[in-house]
């Protein structure tokens, strides 16, 4: 029996020809998706592939304030100190550290036997070079070094960091300040202080070595077998592969082309649960989903309007249907991952009657809510907020904004959006530095996201900065949090819980302060 397509009518012929064409296109798409990133993951392999969302801009630890950069840098570089699982400060490159009685300097003793990836021994000179470079460039992670004055090299193993003024917050910020090899970076400094070279190269001491293959779509690192804390259970290689679509990450994880998926939505996470060979962990992070109000200019300068806006949002509905019941409804201006929180903080709740009363003062003004449209959860939350306010007679325009563009608006109170929805993360278990950056009036134009001014808050933060007693400092933080909450500087929506899909035989998929939502420093195979 022969098959001759010419026996059919032209329309039927077209339909017959279309089927294999569409099928081949779909096959091509699938093949491209599976192999596009060069994934080589398979069950039990020691080389793992990590899928992440959004652009990988650089490996330069100057930009470790970007989650994607820090995701890689925190296994390629190391800081002087870090926090353990019990939120306790422990040494990393430093074995001992001591804050001076006047809180104006911190002395460190460096670890013996630490080498950079080219075999050079790490010394105090490298610490000084790294800190001076961050402060000199004044961007990114330099915000962790506010109040830094200088570094004194005592000898190869001892170094003292000097501060401009007493600052108890300072040492906590060092957990994300990485040490780099002075000679190597100086040799490749070029005209931009090494920023161009460090974009795809590294000069660290961490358990993994960069392969110099970084692009906007990711990078790869291999295990450093001369690492001072070597552990052969660590993966031999990690490939970081950018996949922006949650559904693609889900399918790649299920197909075995990806071993850890950082960018899956809660819905896709639920779809993965129970699949053979893979699992999902919802990592409770130190982040909150919040709306920051511009407290300085426009309609939101009025605290009553801010309170009305805060009370308008349907927290319970959004939690059930947008957050899919993961995480929790926020109950304060900082995450409940912290111990220093005001007693009896209640979860945020909607009160439409009171909100309507408070928002009556708005009149016919239309507000603007900025959000990051690349994040589907934020888009849904923004849409729900807009609808909730519309029910109360308040018109809100939703305007997408890219995060780097948002950071630029912080330079002046007049350019800060009247409302900005974002996930805000605090990088250390001691919230002092974060409260100082977000709510101290001295941080307006830099990191104060609501251009918020309150002399009482400034005074409390100044006291906390010079308070060496941790418990007393904690009490001061609680007062700051209460005052900021009473002023409705933010609408506190949800405690961020981050779904992570992973190959079942991998260990260490847990929250860590070192990186959001997890640190690959802890990952082990088998």
């Amino acid at each position: 029996m022969s098959f001759n397509i010419r026996h059919f009518r032209p329309t039927t012929r077209a339909a017959i020809l279309t089927v294999p064409l569409v099928a081949s296109m779909l096959t091509a798409c699938t093949a491209g998706g599976a192999g596009g990133g060069g994934g080589n993951a398979s069950g039990g392999s020691n080389a793992i592939v990590v899928a992440f969302k959004h652009e990988f801009n650089t490996m330069d630890p100057l930009r470790a304030d970007y989650a994607q950069t820090n995701m890689v840098d925190n296994i390629v570089y190391e800081p002087l100190i870090k926090f353990d699982a019990q939120n306790k400060m422990v040494g990393a490159l430093a074995t001992e550290f001591k804050v001076a009685p006047d809180a104006k300097s911190i002395a460190f003793t460096l670890r013996d036997g630490v080498t950079f990836h080219d075999g050079t021994t790490m010394t105090a000179k490298d610490v000084k070079f790294s800190l001076d470079r961050y402060v000199r460039l004044g961007q990114g992670i330099a915000s962790q070094l506010q109040g830094y004055d200088s570094t004194t090299v005592v000898d190869d193993k001892h170094v003292v960091i000097n501060l401009k003024a007493p600052n108890a917050f300072f040492i906590n910020g060092l957990a994300n300040v990485y040490v780099m090899e002075a000679d190597l970076v100086t040799k490749n400094a070029g005209k931009d202080d090494g920023q161009g070279w460090l974009q795809s190269h590294e000069a660290g001491t961490g358990p993994f070595v960069g392969t110099g293959t970084s692009t906007a779509d990711g990078t790869a690192v291999t295990r450093y077998d001369k690492y001072w804390g070597f552990d052969d259970k660590r993966p031999t290689q990690m490939t970081f592969r950018r996949i922006d679509e949650s559904a693609t990450e889900r399918d790649e994880l299920k197909a075995g082309n990806v071993d850890i998926a950082l960018g899956i939505s809660a819905i896709d996470a639920a779809a993965i649960k129970g699949q053979p060979g893979v699992d999902v962990a919802f990592l409770k992070t130190s982040g909150l989903t919040q709306v920051f109000f511009n407290t300085s200019t426009g309609a939101t300068a009025d605290p009553k309007i801010r309170q009305g806006l805060k009370l308008a949002f349907d927290y319970a509905g959004g939690y059930a249907k947008i957050e899919n019941g993961n995480g929790s409804i926020a109950s304060g201006v900082i995450s409940d991952s912290f111990t220093c929180r005001p007693d009896g903080s209640a979860p945020s709740a909607q009160d439409t009657a009171q909100a309507k009363q408070l928002l009556a003062g708005l009149g016919n003004q239309t507000l603007e809510l900025r959000y990051q449209s690349v994040d589907s959860v934020q888009t849904q939350l923004a849409t729900l907020f807009q609808s909730n306010l519309k029910d109360l007679g308040v018109n809100v325009n939703l305007v997408p904004i890219a995060f780097p563009d948002y950071l630029k608006t912080l330079s002046s109170p007049s350019t800060i959006p009247s409302m900005m929805l974002l996930n805000d993360y605090i990088m250390s278990p001691d919230p002092g530095a974060a409260l100082d950056k977000l709510y101290n009036s001295k941080s307006i134009g830099i990191t104060n996201k609501g251009a918020y001014t309150n002399p009482k808050v400034d005074s409390l933060l100044a006291q906390a900065r010079t308070q060496p007693d941790e418990a007393k400092r904690c009490d001061l933080y609680k007062q700051v949090e209460s005052d900021v909450a009473a002023d409705s500087v933010t609408a506190n929506m949800y405690q961020v819980s981050f779904p992570v899909g992973y190959r079942k035989d991998l260990k260490g998929i847990t929250f860590d302060w070192a990186a959001t939502p997890m640190s690959f420093f802890n990952v082990r195979v088998g």
């Binding site: 009518r9 032209p10 329309t11 077209a14 679509e245 949650s246 559904a247 939505s265 819905i267 896709d268 779809a271 349907d314 509905g317 959004g318 059930a320 249907k321 947008i322 449209s373 690349v374 589907s376 888009t379 849904q380 923004a382 849409t383 729900l384 807009q386 609808s387 909730n388 519309k390 029910d391 939703l398 305007v399 997408p400």
Partner: protein, 290 residues
Amino acid sequence: MATTLTKFSPERRNWLRSISGIPGTQIVIPIVVVLLLILALVGPLIAPESQVYRSDILSALAPPSSQHWLGTDEQGRDVFWRIIAGAQASLLSAVAIVTGFSIVGILVATIATLGGKWVDEVVMRVVDAALAFPPIIFALGVAAALGPSLNSAIIAMILTGWPVTARVLRGVMRETMSQAYVENARVLGVSRTRLMLRHVLPNSMDVLLVKWAGDIGNTILILGGLSFVGVGAQPPSAEWGAMVTSAKGIIATAPWAAFAPGVAIAITAVAFGLLGDILQVRFNPALRKR
């Protein structure tokens, strides 16, 4: 090349007949188009605003039922009513875009035809340069400058759509200019402007009308694509492309939320595309004879 065209022409003729040659089938297409246009005009008036824009979050992602014929989306809004209301943003935007770039195209083609050899040369090189801009990339640029919105998408598509119309129309106008009746009018002393307005332009309009109808379908697809990549309509717009975009993350769990607006886009694009084919047959005596 000529042989190839001759070889395939009968097949094209058969295809046209099978699709639009039967009176019953031929009539269905304009009826669908008219219904879509009516829907675009009255859709937002008949669709209850509470079902279209108001979030009913606890009813999110409900499957199709007697209460919600096409189910609800991730905000608990009725997908059916959003499609009805969104017809205006989707269809009238496409009509506005095609009309907009057609007007610009007519003006440019007229200048090129009337202006003499040098003007024609210069204008056509400008058209060639403008043709080099890919609409999606250009729209991304416009969105970056003006902010992502339906208006930005409309502006970008008008600015990138006119060169094709100008080039096609200029060719048709030059052909019309060489017709005997135009030559006769010229000999009788009719001014160039009058010649253009009374003789050349009206006799070139059939081509433009065919192109206009065909372009509506393409434009709806591109507009949907722009919304899909986030530079078109923004939430809570019920523009069909934006509806597909917002539902793309839940396509595995709530396929109706993306499928229904996708079908609406497909039906509209096909209807206008086929209308273009029908008009082509109607206006082209050569095709009609076959």
